[in-house]
Structures are given as structure tokens and as C-alpha cells.
Amino acid sequence: MMNRPTKTGIAGTLESNDCQVTVEPTNDDSLVIQIESVVKARFGKQIEMAVMDTCKQLELVGATVFVDDKGALDFTIKARVETAVKRSL
């Protein structure tokens, strides 16, 4: 079953070792991921992969996922994405 956001969903915080994830609906079936991170130069790709994996598992479509990362570990990023998606449905 596909998941499609109907409203904005936000999860997480902007403290060290956490991240804030914002999920917003788009007009089509696309999935856009944007990453801002204090460690973007070194870990931007890895973080994007973690976000992408989670979105795929959740079968998310028609969404923009924006991650503002303050040095979170992958499991935190995944948990925050999951919650933000749930809140956007």
C-alpha cells in the first residue's frame, strides 16, 4: 500500500545529535529528499541513503522530505523520518 502525505508532518529537534524532519505533500507521485547537515560534506550521501531506505520501506510517494541534521546517528534519522511521515498522513 502506498503512503501519500495529506499535510505537513514534522518530527525531531534541532539539538546536537538529533535532526528535524519535515514531510510535505507534492502534486505528483515524486519523492524528493533534501538534506542539510552539520556533517554534510562527509556524510551527506550516507544520510541520504538512510532517509531513502526508510521512505522506500514506508512506500512513500508524493512527498518532499527535508532533513535538517545536527549530527544524528542513522537510527535516530530513521526514527524521525518514520514519525514525520506518520504525522503527514
Partner: protein
């Protein structure tokens, strides 16, 4: 979502509420600790030191919470946000426990970072890398990080300046006592117990002043009268600070003598020698609870224990603590240790009932029920809480004076400083 992540989210909105209510920059003091439950002795001392370092500023409001994230301070301060952030970065970099602190500064719309001030990102405490990178790469083992935290704490207590060392030890003992998971009527970091006029913050403030005063008595370990003089001043300053609430009166007397005793090879006989004439106190009448109980029932209370050199504390209770949790030790004290505060408040029959109940506790439900019962009765085993402080003072002092740095003992014995079991 993990409980910790949930708590963090909840706290973020709590912080916004504070910012909305108090129109000043908000400083949040946490500690850099590991794990899903960060409550511990070290965590608590680290954040309290952060708070003390800020105390001279113009503080407008102070709140604390105590959750799985440990003790956290929220302080509204009337200063420009950039200036405040610089002060906090300076504490993080230069205070002996600063590397273990995590101090954020924010307003309702904005959280200021080191980058905003053109400062470098925080570096890892184990190598020169940026801290974020080591966290992400999990460069260091949990055991290396724990060892660093414990060693940093030990160095802090062990400072070469004698007065400061005793101040830190006593402060750790007085604040450390508050981490007991259940208060059974006493104040803890998360609960006011049976008291309407005191809370954790009052105890923390009082612990600061009391420790500053009584540590001045460290050179007088041979002279009871001089110890008592220092004790009187400490008591006076405590009552001024708390506006008449008795937070640490019993602890002042107890810890002064324990401090003196610890400076001798045989603490029990030294304390007993110092307190030789103490029962002559009862010839006068200072109007205290202890005095009333002596006059009416012949109970010698804390003075009687001092005359025996606190022999029970050193030879039975402290060894018990070494193999039991802080909660078990506290219950043992309530059941075994004569507590005149409790006796005075409750009267003989309620006092006996309370001690019987403490002895019969077996499981978590019993504990919670006993905690509830004590609060309903309005009882508070303050004398036992003082003894808990004394235990922590003994434990910390012997720990920092140990010559050996034998890794396994070091770890097993002091793991409890990083957790509350």
C-alpha cells in the same frame, strides 16, 4: 520511537513555552552521557556545576526536569544571546567538567550555534576530530568513552587544592544523595516527597553553600570546637539562603565529623575521640528536636552515634552499600538507623511502624507502596538521607585517594557513578 527521542521532542516544545513566558535567552544545561537512561551521579554533578558556573549572572528564572535524559536545567538569563553563548562555550571548554556538559542557548525562534559566532565546532574529547564525526563514525568504543567520563570526574574531585577538593567531595555527597530513585518522603531530584516547602533546586543551592562553608574546616580535624564553629556559620548561611527551611542541618554536623575522621587512618576512633564530651550538650537546651527527644525519652540520637565514632556507618552500612544499590541502602538505613527527625515528626508508634515496613520490603510494588504511605503520613527520613550523603562522601574520598588504578576494580566498583542500577 524510542522513549529518549520522544522525551527530547517533548522537551523542545517545553523549552519554547519557557521562552514564550520569559522574554530572555534560555540556557539549557544537559550532560554528554551514553545510553537510553542517562540518570546517574556523574550526570547530576556535571549539570549542577554548569548551573553554578552561571549563577553569578542575572538569572530570571530557573527550572529543572529529571527524566531518562537525567537532570536538566532551564535558565532564563537577561543577557544578549551572543554574549551568553560565548560564556557557555567558555564553560564547556574550560570548566573541569565542561567537556561533559552540553549547554544550549536559544530564544523562541532561534538556537544559536558555535558557527554563528565563527567558532570551531566542538572537538571530540578523545581525539582531535570534530565531535560530530566521531559520534557518527562511532570511532570510539563505549568502554573508552565511559573510562574518559569516569576519569574526568575523578580528576575533578581529586584537585590538588585541598579546600576545593573537600568542597567538591561534600557537594557531590549532598547532591548525590538526591539521585535515590524513591525518596520515601524525602526530597529527590524528581520529587518533593512529603515537603511542601522544599524541592530539588533548593537542596542543590543549599548543597553549594553548605559545601563551601564546611570544607573550610578541613584543616581542623583535631579540634572539635573549631569544627563546630564552622558548622554554626554553615548553618546560618544555609538558613539565610533557604529563608529558614532546614535542608542540611543534620548533614552539616555529620559531614563535618566524617570529613575530620577520613583524614585519619582510623576514622571511627578519631571521630569518637573528637566527640568525647558531646553528650554534655544535653546539659543545656538548644530547643532542637534532638534535645527534646533526649529530655523526654533519653534518646541520644546523632550525638550518641557521634560518640561511638559513627561506627555503624563505617563498619556496617558502608560495606552494605558497596554491594547494594542506593535504594536498598536507603531502605536499610530507614529500617536500622535511629532517625530522630523521623521519630520527632511521627511519634514513637508511627516511627516503629515505618521501620518495620522498611525492613519488610521485597519488590518494586512494596517500594512504591511504602513511598506513597510515607507521603500520606507526612513522614520524611531526613536522618537516613544524611547518612546516605555520608556514605557517598566516604566512597568518593576513598576512591580518589586509592593508589591503584587497577582497571577491573575501578570499573566494577564505580560503574554505579554512571548509572543508578
Amino acid at each position: 520511537m524510542s522513549k529518549l527521542l520522544e522525551e527530547r521532542e517533548f522537551r523542545a516544545s517545553f523549552q519554547k513555552q519557557i521562552c514564550a513566558e520569559y522574554p530572555f535567552p534560555l540556557v539549557i544545561i544537559k550532560a554528554n552521557m551514553l545510553g537510553e537512561d542517562k540518570r546517574s551521579l556523574i550526570q547530576t554533578i556535571v549539570v549542577c556545576e554548569g548551573y553554578f558556573a552561571l549563577k553569578k549572572l542575572n538569572l530570571k528564572n530557573i527550572l529543572t526536569t529529571y527524566t531518562l535524559e537525567g537532570l536538566i536545567f532551564y535558565i532564563s538569563i537577561d543577557l544578549p544571546i551572543e554574549q551568553l553563548k560565548r560564556i557557555c562555550v567558555d564553560i564547556e571548554e574550560n570548566h573541569p567538567l565542561g567537556r561533559l556538559m552540553d549547554i544550549d542557548v536559544m530564544t523562541v525562534h532561534f538556537q544559536i550555534s558555535r558557527r554563528d559566532l565563527n567558532l570551531d565546532s566542538r572537538s571530540c574529547f578523545l581525539c582531535d576530530e570534530v565531535a560530530y564525526v566521531c559520534v557518527r563514525e562511532q570511532t570510539h568504543s563505549i568502554s573508552d568513552i565511559e573510562t574518559y567520563i569516569i576519569d574526568t570526574f575523578k580528576k575533578y574531585l581529586r584537585t590538588n587544592i585541598n579546600h576545593k577538593r573537600w568542597q567538591r567531595l561534600i557537594q557531590t555527597a549532598l547532591i548525590g544523595e538526591l539521585i535515590k530513585p524513591l525518596g520515601y518522603g524525602c526530597v529527590t531530584l524528581g520529587d518533593q516527597g512529603s515537603h511542601k516547602d522544599m524541592d530539588a533546586l533548593l537542596f542543590i543551592d543549599s548543597a553549594r553553600i553548605v559545601s563551601e562553608e564546611i570544607s573550610k574546616a578541613h584543616p581542623f580535624s583535631e579540634n572539635f570546637d573549631q569544627l563546630r564553629e564552622v558548622g554554626k556559620i554553615a548553618e546560618k548561611r544555609m538558613f539565610e539562603m533557604t529563608r529558614g527551611v532546614n535542608t542540611h542541618k543534620g548533614a552539616i554536623f555529620l559531614l563535618l565529623l566524617v570529613m575530620a575522621g577520613l583524614q585519619h587512618p582510623d576514622p571511627v576512633s578519631h571521630i569518637s575521640f573528637l566527640s568525647e564530651d558531646i553528650l554534655s550538650d544535653f546539659e543545656g537546651d538548644d530547643g532542637s528536636h534532638g534535645m527534646r527527644l533526649y529530655k523526654e525519652h533519653g534518646i541520644t540520637g546523632i550525638r550518641g552515634l557521634a560518640k561511638e565514632g559513627f561506627s555503624d556507618l563505617f563498619t556496617r552500612t558502608y560495606p552494605y552499600y558497596r554491594s547494594h544499590s542506593i535504594d536498598e541502602t536507603f531502605l536499610w538505613l530507614i529500617g536500622e538507623n535511629p532517625d530522630t527527625t523521623l521519630m520527632y515528626r511521627g511519634g514513637q508508634s508511627l516511627y516503629n511502624e515505618c521501620r518495620e515496613k522498611a525492613k519488610q520490603i521485597e519488590n518494586v510494588d512494596d517500594r512504591i507502596e511504602f513511598d506513597r504511605w510515607m507521603k500520606i503520613q507526612g513522614l520524611s527520613p531526613g536522618g537516613s538521607a544524611d547518612m546516605l550523603s555520608a556514605i557517598l562522601l566516604i566512597d568518593c574520598y576513598w576512591w580518589i585517594m586509592e593508589e591503584t588504578n587497577d582497571e577491573p576494580t575501578h570499573k566494577n566498583r564505580y560503574r554505579r557513578y554512571l548509572g543508578i542500577e
